[in-house]
Symmetry: C2
Subunit: 376 residues, 2 copies
Amino acid sequence: MTTHVLVVGTGLIGTSLGIALSRKGFRVSLSDPSPTAARLARDLGAGQLANGQPGGQDQQPAAPSASDTHDAPDVVVVAAPPDVAGAVVAEQLRRWPNAVVTDVASVKGAIAQAVERAGGDLGRYVGSHPMAGRERSGTMAARADLFEGRAWVVVPTTATRPDAIQAVLGIATAVGSVVTVMAADEHDAAVAVVSHVPQVAASLVASRLRDLSDPAVSLAGQGLRDVTRIAASDPRLWTQILAGNAAAVRDVLRELAADLAGVITALDALDGVDAPGALEVVGRAIGDGNAGHARIPGKHGAAPTAYAVVVVVVPDTPGALGHLLTDMGAAGVNLEDLHLEHGLGQPFGLAEVSVLPSAAEHLLTALDERGWRVHD
Amino acid sequence: MTTHVLVVGTGLIGTSLGIALSRKGFRVSLSDPSPTAARLARDLGAGQLANGQPGGQDQQPAAPSASDTHDAPDVVVVAAPPDVAGAVVAEQLRRWPNAVVTDVASVKGAIAQAVERAGGDLGRYVGSHPMAGRERSGTMAARADLFEGRAWVVVPTTATRPDAIQAVLGIATAVGSVVTVMAADEHDAAVAVVSHVPQVAASLVASRLRDLSDPAVSLAGQGLRDVTRIAASDPRLWTQILAGNAAAVRDVLRELAADLAGVITALDALDGVDAPGALEVVGRAIGDGNAGHARIPGKHGAAPTAYAVVVVVVPDTPGALGHLLTDMGAAGVNLEDLHLEHGLGQPFGLAEVSVLPSAAEHLLTALDERGWRVHD
């Protein structure tokens, strides 16, 4: 029997999920407070408008009815903003007494608490966090493959029934996600470290640029660009995310603030005459960063790999980088990562190409033979 | 008449400069406390061994002599570590009474003060900061094009003679750098914001990963990777850099710490019941980051440009990305930036391709026609 999934909220995540599930043969109904957003999602192939959704087949208002029960969803996915997700989940649990309900907010403890406070049936509630955001949001940014290859964290409560977990695992797997099951506090502590605190740090570093002179800003290099890339993120969404995970983010930021205070004290001492131990504090801060950085998994969730970096001068003309990578492919070498460094006022850039260490020497030779200016 | 440049210190910067200047027709002599490093630099094409350099033509010790004066350099480039650069500059000013001397350390005020304290002739001293580091260091990492298209900040003292400034400008321009002239305090304040504070922030964020569980670390996405990429930098070098610019870095870190304390207080309030104003503090932190991020110059030092992002699914096979970029080139569209997002456990990745907004629609159509799975 075909699984019927009701998607409540047709923004980036809800619409992308609707498209992906529809393509996999699920029956998807769409609901959104905005009739325009729901219709747009339908037109993008995300599913049919739900009963009660303005513009839907029955053209009825949203009150439950006998026909609703007849067409009840098996799974409801609440893709609403984090600050209302808990209330919407509780409402859907009441409205569909046999359905499994999940949400996709990037914080999980606060949502489960809100569901419980609102008297929702926790046995049929499962938290989800598909780690599939983009810098862009909204229905129009939806993509069928948004979840492919990305992590999807499934977060049961202690009361969640096993069949409810299975239903959500089925959806996550169907859209190509790699599923991890975690408790809510474990999830919230993890994303505080790997996502929320990096966002705060990037924003605070970028803030310092506001009052800098133009010549000073012009000294910006790739390091600054990388550190501050996510500082361009949406303040409204991030305020909700950080508020929703306030305790966990605060705890990690306090650790960071303590380390920062130590570095400031050490630099203050180094600006004076005598500074026993100060250099060690600074060196340890950088060294501890080395150790933490080394824990970040490599490509495909595998163990961290130290790639060899080959640097190639690439003319700034259409297709030049493509020719380079085609030549790499012809040499049988796979690209593991790529950073581009654009020259200031120069008609070329440097491509820093990461490859497996065993492939580096062969690649250097092959590219050199094809006339590229390369450096290891 | 050929300019004779003496490079003192044949690590990454000194050797790269020697190679680049030699190729431009300068006469380059090489000197290093390590005879091995100096000979390696010579073998890489960075120049000849200097008189007095062990292994050099005269095989004499380093004491000045009549022959030294006969073969005096016009410009001495001190490419020594930041903590000894000032002393070496003063020594070279004394040894070559007609030469212009510059250094390449990434801090400038502390070096000029050290030169003055050591009684060096400030009229012939010019500070330099070629912004051309790499994650790797050492003679073997040298590249002839290290300076091409990168910023080179020239930092005269108030006593520096105009002809000394001109001599250093000539070298920076010869190796393809884009020259900016700044006062030492202006330079040090600028690099504190665009380089040194981002390094500290990246290291402190990465430090938090040290004690995380493996499942938690596995949730790391591209945001964390970008923020912490430079956390892999060398602790010894960065301890010297941060100590050398201690006051300026401390001042910026204090601003950052004050903002951070505000965010922590706000999150603390949000974890409780009532939190008037707390959401605004969090939202402003992210919004200020937006404003700061928008000031980072675009490619080629031009004004910031909001590029359009096109997302393409790329199979993880040798050459696939190359074919994509070749197809982009065939469509006449130039790549402005590129981010790769590797799928966890999936044999493909997502390429986020930045192009000029006016080119996005044409590119989407062209790639779609060639069979790529694309999304805007």
